[in-house]
């Protein structure tokens, strides 16, 4: 079970050359959250996820961990990379077998004591047993998605970011992916999903947000985070 946490992004700006992507975007992510973000193509959804993951530096803005003080980007990126995991729309499979892909994630988690047993358990959890020796590149889209989620399980992040996780999946793969995500959320992992099909995650979502006009607009089913966002803003000034 993941310990309780808050991660706040306030007044986030991002632009690529003359293309302004985000202007004043704000979001708070807490344990057990499942936030679904929708928006048109090119609205900046993936950019937002990449900023949250620490893979992209915001032009400006404040990031606060558990309402703490603002820190230099280098340190923040380190903390983001440590606690957030980003799953690409097309999950990247490392060269080699499915087993190697899962084992790679297990090796990077020092908290895992018995690696072989953990990997075997995770593979069973994802229903991928029997495919261990198969080349990861030759797996189907749904299987690759499950490999990515299995790696995430072994990584055990505070926040899991998914970019269109059910795009191009058949009904069975979709149902399995949703079940796996539910287990993540129940264990305390916060989930942020970018999707064109928010209804797919209706049962799972705790918040449905929309990214339009370079800002995040909330249609939330939990209390507004005004107080929390204020504390993020204050942390920027401290």
């Amino acid at each position: 079970m993941i310990e309780s946490f808050h991660l706040g992004f306030s007044d986030i700006h991002k632009r690529y050359a003359n293309n302004r992507v985000l202007e004043g975007a704000e979001i708070i992510i807490s344990s057990h959250d499942c936030i679904v973000i929708t928006g048109k193509n090119g609205a900046g959804k993936t950019t937002l996820l990449r900023i949250i993951a620490g893979l992209e530096k915001p032009g400006s803005g404040a990031i606060a961990f558990d309402h703490g003080a603002a820190e230099p980007w280098g340190r923040q990126r380190k903390r983001l990379l440590r606690s957030v995991m980003y799953l690409h729309q097309q999950p990247y499979m490392l060269a080699g077998s499915l087993q190697r892909n899962i084992d790679y994630a297990a090796r990077l988690n020092p908290a895992i004591a018995d690696r072989a047993a953990s990997v075997a358990r995770a593979i069973r959890w994802a229903g991928l047993d029997g495919l261990e020796a198969q080349s990861a590149a030759s797996l189907s889209g749904g299987q690759k998605q499950r490999v990515a989620l299995t790696r995430a399980r072994l990584r055990d992040p505070h926040i899991l970011l998914l970019d269109e996780p059910t795009a191009n999946l058949d009904g069975e793969s979709r149902a399995r992916t949703l079940q796996m995500l539910r287990e993540f959320r129940d264990s305390g992992t916060a989930i942020v999903i970018v999707s064109h099909d928010p209804d797919m995650f209706a049962d799972l979502a705790t918040q449905q947000l929309q990214l339009r006009e370079r800002r995040i607009h909330g249609a939330t089913n939990r209390n507004p985070d005004v107080v929390e966002l204020d504390s993020v803003r204050q942390s920027k000034q401290r």
Binding site: M85, Y86, Y92, L94, A95, A105, S138
Partner: protein
């Protein structure tokens, strides 16, 4: 035709009789070129990574410069280093001219741009998600670096072979910087040039056969490695 056949027969006799002079030249060639490429690989990888994944001022200019260095003739590298290393040159005090170190230095500069450009292209062709996946799974920068290297291993191997092929067979820089001194700086290409000028074709052909055999061997190894790595072997 008779001369060619006789020279070839004599060349094989030299090789298989274990002629000490011939095999010494081969050993010098491999020692200098192997050391040169070993020294060039770490900086080349770092530069290629910086060019592929970095975002800094002058990046495009650097890429253009390394691409330009690809077509610099070996004699120009040789001449530049000759001026630097000659007694009156700024590095004359090191007394490196006409040594294996000077030859190695020349070969280092020759293969560096090849390695940088080919690894850079391999990195650009590879999915950037490899780096990001490694990082987001908790890999340190160094670990992610080696992960990506493994992902582009065939491109990396091709770069190494191209770089090695360039330096083991180049004659201009080695001749100028090594001076073709017997038992010291005489390597395969400079020996071939010398023996040919003397009309001693057999030794030149023998050394040429060694070069060709080596080229075949490394290419066969590459093919084998690629075959093992393919999805549908």
């Amino acid at each position: 035709m008779d001369t060619l056949l006789t020279s070839c027969a004599e060349a094989f006799r030299l090789l298989f009789s274990g002629d000490a002079d011939t095999w010494e030249i081969v050993a010098i060639s491999f020692r200098v070129s192997s050391l040169a490429i070993l020294c060039a690989v770490p900086p080349a990888l770092l530069i290629a990574f910086a060019l592929a994944y970095g975002n800094f001022f002058g990046r495009r200019l650097l890429i253009s410069m390394f691409n330009t260095f690809l077509s610099v003739p070996a004699v120009v590298i040789g001449l530049t280093l000759f001026i630097l290393l000659s007694r009156q040159g700024p590095m004359g005090d090191f007394k490196l001219l006409f040594t294996q170190t000077a030859m190695g230095l020349g070969q280092f500069l020759l293969c560096l741009p090849i390695l940088v450009c080919m690894v850079h292209v391999a990195l650009q062709a590879a999915d950037r998600a490899a780096w990001e996946t490694a990082r987001t799974l908790g890999a340190s920068r160094l670990h992610a670096f080696f992960t990506v290297l493994y992902e582009i291993r065939f491109g990396l191997l091709a770069a190494l072979l191209a770089g090695y092929g360039r330096i083991i067979s180049e004659v201009g820089a080695s001749m100028m910087l090594g001076g073709n001194i017997a038992h010291y700086t005489r390597n395969i290409p400079t020996a071939i040039a010398l023996e040919t000028s003397k009309g001693a074709f057999a030794e030149g052909i023998a050394l040429g056969i060694v070069l060709l055999f080596l080229a075949f061997l490394v290419n066969a190894l590459l093919q084998y490695a690629q075959g093992k790595g393919s999805i549908n072997p």
